[in-house]
Symmetry: C2
Subunit: 281 residues, 2 copies
């Protein structure tokens, strides 16, 4: 999927919502625990209930690896289920990998060939070698960590400043923005730093940004939209726990749908305000 | 395993060799391709042929994830095989993970509870949150990337300098060295930067260092020993392809043993030179 196709999906659904499938086995409703594969069954019902409101889904690999082989199986089934039933959805492996050439090749194969992911999140610490092998796959994306939403992001991302007073995350953007076109390169920028999105946009005006941190982590969707939106939207805003664990009862899927609808409705308003839906009128 | 126990193993085996199990399925000898699980069979024979010469083994997760569920199964079997047969070996998951609190918890569970790894390699980009959950596991280690051996390590690790002219990798050491004791915290420092090991030792004189980059990547073991060794050795030097793919014929395991013996013999000499074997005399 390229940037234009992603923007078309956003306009069609009036949504730039990414739903994070942080499907922690211990938080899945008890009535699903009797299923053969509770995590997959949970994901499947969440996706069926919300796919019309979201443009992207993002399983976080840790929650699958924690269950070993069984978890890896749930991940593969989830990815296949999404692409078989809703091929228009943008599928992100939130893996935060980062290794050198021949090893990155292997990760790219795991996510882009063996599984039908469109994108993988990557740590920039080891430099371009980390990113390059992912770019060899047509229409696939590298999503590079820039400014994350966790409290200790300050340790290096903001505390490490160069002689020009640029913070590390800014240096990451300056250095990496020409490594690939905006059809293959995206950045992670946390919503809890919404006031900094304006600074991000000064460096990468045209790139898509994957924005975690609204919902359970407390970021404001409005601030993200005001400071981060560009003429092709340029945002995928993620919510995980706030949607998928809205209820842990029999109604978990319909409650997830209700929560996703609230977010999507707010998003539709911002897309309208920014005049991005005009050609859909 | 704590630092003292690791040093005791080093003295006992006169070796600080870590063998990297970068067991790329496409490079495994053809006669093993008929086994039920060729990667596990390969690893098993490599380990049986070399375990007396190495103190550590380090599967790189990418090579297992590239094979999906089957690969994850090979990884679990390899880890179990090592700890069942050679519990004294130090087992490193070369995963280069790096995510925030609740997610890192999941990764720690995957490697330390579901599998018997002693250590996991981690990227420092997201700060202390990334490392902390791993430290809650007694006698388990976080191995933090500092200065890696790949060519694009310059992009950020050395090119990003602060007002005091400290490079990013130095700032990582300064900031993180007190996050945990030297019984739980280790650093990755590439052998291809052996002349910088002296600078590393100025900041972290007592920490163990995991040093990749000798062998196929061209680093010098002698330079590493001269510049990096401390009074408890403080080094685990990794070789992957140079040992495990020394031959791709029927003799692959015995050839791996020969290569490992060459490295171990050289290591024994340095340990002797530095007077670290005296209490074994």
């Amino acid at each position: 999927m390229n940037k234009e196709q992603l923007f078309n999906q956003i306009k069609l659904k009036k949504s730039f919502l990414c739903i994070g499938l942080d499907s922690d086995n211990s938080k899945i409703p008890s009535h699903l625990q009797y299923a053969n594969d509770p995590v997959f069954e949970f994901n499947k019902q969440i996706i069926e209930a919300t796919h019309h409101l979201a443009v992207a889904y993002k399983p976080n690999l840790a929650f699958y690896e924690a269950n070993g082989i069984k978890g890896w199986n749930s991940l593969e089934r989830t990815a296949q289920f999404i692409k078989s039933n809703y091929p228009e959805l943008f599928l992100i492996a939130d893996a935060k990998r980062g290794d050198i050439g021949n090893t990155s090749d292997m990760y790219a194969r795991a996510f882009f060939q063996n599984m039908p992911f469109d994108a993988v999140t990557l740590s920039p610490y080891m430099g371009f070698d980390t990113i390059q092998p992912f770019l060899h796959h047509k229409d696939k994306w590298a999503i590079v960590l820039a400014l994350t939403s966790n409290s200790s992001a300050v340790d290096f991302q903001t505390n490490c400043k160069n002689q020009s007073n640029d913070m590390l995350w800014q240096q990451v953007l300056f250095t990496s923005k020409d490594w690939a076109s905006t059809d293959q390169l995206m950045y992670v920028v946390g919503a809890t730093k919404a006031e900094w999105l304006r600074k991000v946009r000064e460096i990468v005006p045209d790139h898509f940004l994957l924005v975690p941190g609204i919902g359970a982590q407390g970021g404001s969707l409005k601030e993200v939209a005001i400071n981060g939106m560009n003429k092709q939207c340029g945002l995928l805003v993620n919510s995980s726990r706030g949607i998928i664990f809205a209820s842990n009862g029999l109604d978990f899927a319909s409650k997830a749908c209700e929560e996703a609808l609230l977010v999507q409705t707010e998003m539709a308003g911002y897309l309208e305000d920014f005049g991005l839906l005009s050609d859909q009128a």
